[in-house]
């Protein structure tokens, strides 16, 4: 797709994971700043989703198959928001751990997206 965008989303996800992991180690729940961070990461992944769909409709084809590519795009877009909602309901350090885990999963999904597109 756009390698720079995949790289940016992956690095932002890792940064978010480290940040929320730090909150977990300090025994803190996710705070407003964490949610702003989640919004930034989610925005990057949403841009990626749009770019991916546009590239597909433009006739480009991922190396490992369109269905798998779209499934990973949707999974990547859902990961951090879903974890964020769970941390809203869990106002302890374990809410921070949930977001950190979600961000790590997003980073893994970005690596897979890169492979699937044929980077």
């Amino acid at each position: 797709m756009i390698d720079a965008l995949t790289l940016a989303a992956g690095l932002a996800a890792l940064a978010l994971a480290a940040w929320c992991g730090f909150a977990f180690s300090r025994d803190q729940p996710t705070k407003d700043w964490h949610f702003i961070g989640m919004a930034v990461v989610s925005a990057l992944v949403l841009v990626q989703l749009v770019v991916g769909v546009v590239r597909l409709s433009g006739g480009d084809r991922p190396v490992q198959g369109t269905a798998i590519f779209v499934a990973y795009l949707l999974g990547a877009a859902a990961a951090v928001p879903a974890a964020g909602f769970m941390s809203l309901a869990e106002r302890t350090r374990w809410g921070s751990a949930t977001v950190a885990a979600g961000a790590v999963i997003l980073a893994v999904l970005e690596v897979r997206l890169y492979d699937i597109w044929g980077g």
């Binding site: 269905a67 798998i68 309901a89 869990e90 885990a101």
Partner: protein, 135 residues
């Protein structure tokens, strides 16, 4: 969804929340993986794809039990986590001994190596949490 606070059986609270999240992710991952592969090319590795689907069902049931909470759900989740661990160990050993039976990987191949070994770590962690939540 109303649950009593602090009854010790709120399986989806505290550390349980993280387990719900990871089991939820693995349910989606295993289910979508097996559905895509079965629809696209079932004949290539039917055994691997059926095992992935079975894993998805186990994951879905554990997620549901954790969210529901209560003593019955706790016992059911414990049994399923034991089944999951047995599945990972069996399929993991099987893929190492007889790779020819698996032209394509499952979620549980090589003890879940393709998934950062989370498939083998998760049931152990869940069982520790489920036992502790009983007290």
């Amino acid at each position: 969804m109303k649950r009593e606070e602090g009854s010790g059986l709120d399986l989806g609270q505290g550390p349980g929340r993280l387990l719900v999240w990871l089991y939820g992710v693995f349910t989606v991952a295993a289910a979508s993986r097996s559905v895509v592969q079965m629809l696209m090319d079932f004949g290539r590795a039917p055994l691997a794809y059926v095992l992935s689907a079975a894993a998805a069902v186990v994951y879905a049931f554990i997620t549901y039990s954790l969210v529901r909470g209560g003593p019955a759900a706790r016992r059911a989740a414990l049994v399923c986590c034991a089944a999951e661990l047995a599945g990972v160990l069996t399929v993991g050993t099987w893929t190492l001994l007889e790779p020819s039976a698996f032209p394509d990987a499952t979620v549980w191949s090589d003890y879940g190596m393709g998934y950062l070994f989370i498939p083998v770590i998760l049931p152990v962690t869940a069982m520790v949490w489920l036992r502790r939540a009983a007290r």
